[in-house]
């Protein structure tokens, strides 16, 4: 169940972000959501017993997911704020700000890892690789609303996303309120990705690979691409979960390893294809 939700959310977010950035190689992790969420989670794991003792005691088991969720939202808002200038968002600046924030949160996460105890390290590693192992019916219930809202909301923006691919000015000339569309998409994507990272860690490449496969099948029209991505993303993650659970029985491999093993070579192959077609 969790796998289906997360797969759908990541794939739809990936498709939306690729459309927004007019770049088929974009990924939700690019704008800082995933790494921000990761930083917040690691901070809670390492400092939870000391610095945030009161908070941890109060929120109990919910601390880690909530922290990741808040961290993801905060980073996205920060990157978005950095990139918007006088009410307009420059997409290249948004991407570059995302890269800078990714580096910064990466360094901060590294620093926290450095001071962590051995026991904490195991927890960080396992969580950071991405795993559905921690999913319970309770955590499914917690994240469902945060995932369902973007899953329903993003496909409503399919046509604006289509003409946005022509360019922002062109979309404006066709009557699209470009700034509004960008804000809503960033917010919905932050919701979806923040929620998934909070329960399952960073599961890479689903958001990148799924829309790509689908474009080969149904073309780039977001009216087919977005619902299709939800279905295929859910299916792919379920398949990856099956592999993760069976390949090293009786242990369970973190699913992030499986998706990266399958996704990264695919990504490289895409880059090569792209190079061949462009020149």
């Amino acid at each position: 169940m969790m796998g289906l939700l997360i797969g759908a959310a990541l794939a739809v977010s990936g498709a939306a972000v690729q459309g927004l950035f007019r770049n088929p190689l974009a990924d939700p992790t690019l704008i800082g959501i995933a790494s921000g969420a990761a930083l917040a989670a690691v901070a809670v794991i390492v400092l939870g017993a000391t610095l945030f003792a009161g908070l941890t005691a109060w929120l109990g088991l919910y601390t880690l997911p909530l922290a990741a969720f808040v961290g993801g939202m905060a980073t996205t808002l920060l990157v978005y704020r950095l990139a918007s200038n006088g009410g307009r968002t420059v997409v290249t600046t948004l991407l570059l700000a995302g890269i800078a924030i990714n580096a910064l949160t990466g360094a901060a996460t590294g620093l926290l890892t450095f001071v962590a105890t051995d026991e904490q390290l195991r927890s960080i590693t396992f969580w950071g690789l991405g795993s559905l192992g921690g999913a319970t019916w309770q955590s499914v219930a917690t994240v469902t609303p945060f995932v369902i809202l973007p899953l329903i909301g993003i496909p409503y923006l399919a046509r604006p996303l289509n003409v946005l691919l022509l360019g922002e000015a062109e979309a404006g000339h066709l009557g699209v309120n470009v700034e509004r569309v960008k804000q809503v998409i960033v917010l919905l994507v932050a919701l979806a990705v923040g929620a998934t990272v909070s329960v399952a860690g960073i599961i890479g490449f689903v958001g990148l690979v799924t829309p790509h496969l689908l474009r080969l099948l149904v073309g780039p029209d977001h009216r087919r691409l977005l619902p299709g991505s939800a279905l295929l993303g859910a299916t792919l993650l379920l398949a990856a979960d099956l592999i993760a659970r069976t390949i090293v029985i009786p242990a369970e491999l973190p699913i992030g390893i499986v998706t990266a093993m399958l996704g990264a070579p695919f990504f490289l192959w895409l880059l090569l294809q792209d190079r061949r077609h462009s020149f």
């Binding site: 007019r22 770049n23 088929p24 046509r159 289509n162 003409v163 691919l165 022509l166 360019g167 000015a169 062109e170 404006g172 000339h173 066709l174 009557g175 699209v176 309120n177 474009r215 073309g219 780039p220 029209d221 009216r223 077609h277």
Partner: protein, 267 residues
């Protein structure tokens, strides 16, 4: 009822890009904007399309401030052809033309939208490429596909009546025949009551197809009027720093601008 600018000025920092420009695009007319690089032609077009807001002065569409029109309603009345469009995603040429129907439909495009998109592709002479993927087209073919998209956008007169077409250097990457085809199309649309404004580099195309010419230099208006009044050797010299001879066109009677290179005078 027109699309007009009233004493519009535009500055970026200390640099004045446009100063006191007043011009009117009337339905049924083709207005050409000419001038050297950096004269402010594209800035003027962006102000007319609503992409930039003038620092001073007004832009009026049908007598009301441009910014007061809802985006979608604006999009039903006027279409804008950009200089170039970098669409990297594998849409077919037909799908690109269909995007022009966006302001007129909600949800899926209907039968009529497909008919209009195909007619616009035929008008832009790219119907034979309808099934091809846009990124695989040549530069000139892409420009004509974009032309089809903006034509599809204002193919039929909206209930309010008026339509406007803004073209930013529509002939740049086209061969000679298609340059003339494109401006013929602009004329055809003007004949149907569309107000057309086009930025042109070729003064002879402006002479042949425009009803009025606006000549700019460094953001200032050098001249504004019918081609024979604007395309004169002294005014062209003032705008472009180049000496020319202007002859009557042997068949059309419009001005024919011929450069006289030995007298090039650049300071």
């Amino acid at each position: 009822m027109t699309l007009e600018t009233l004493e519009v000025s535009f500055k970026i920092g200390p640099k004045t890009l446009l100063q006191n420009i007043s011009l009117t695009v009337e339905p049924g007319q083709v207005v050409a904007v000419v001038g050297p690089n950096g004269a402010g032609k594209s800035t003027l077009l962006k102000i007319l399309s609503g992409d930039l807001r003038p620092g001073m002065g007004k832009v009026l569409l049908q007598g009301n401030p441009l910014a007061a029109w809802p985006l979608r309603e604006r999009a039903r009345m006027r279409a804008v052809l950009p200089q170039q469009s970098r669409l990297q995603f594998p849409f077919t040429t037909l799908e690109v033309a269909l995007m022009g129907r966006m302001p007129h439909t909600s949800g899926r495009e209907g039968q009529r939208d497909y008919e209009i998109a195909r007619a616009a592709l035929a008008a832009a002479d790219v119907l034979h490429l309808a099934g091809r993927l846009y990124p695989t087209l040549s530069g000139g073919e892409q420009q004509r596909a974009q032309l089809a998209r903006v034509l599809a956008q204002i193919w039929e007169a909206p209930p309010q009546g008026r339509r406007y077409l803004l073209l930013d250097e529509p002939t740049t990457s086209l061969d000679l025949a298609h340059q003339h085809d494109t401006l013929h199309l602009a004329r055809d649309f003007a004949r149907q009551g569309v107000g057309v404004l086009t930025i042109l580099h070729d003064l002879n195309l402006a002479a042949q197809y425009a009803d009025r010419v606006l000549m700019l230099r460094s953001g200032r208006q050098i001249a504004w009027g019918p081609p024979p009044q604007v395309l004169t050797p002294p005014l062209i010299q003032a705008a472009f720093d180049i000496a020319v001879t202007v002859l009557p066109h042997p068949q059309l009677g419009c001005p024919l601008v011929v450069s006289t290179p030995e007298k090039i005078n650049r300071n």
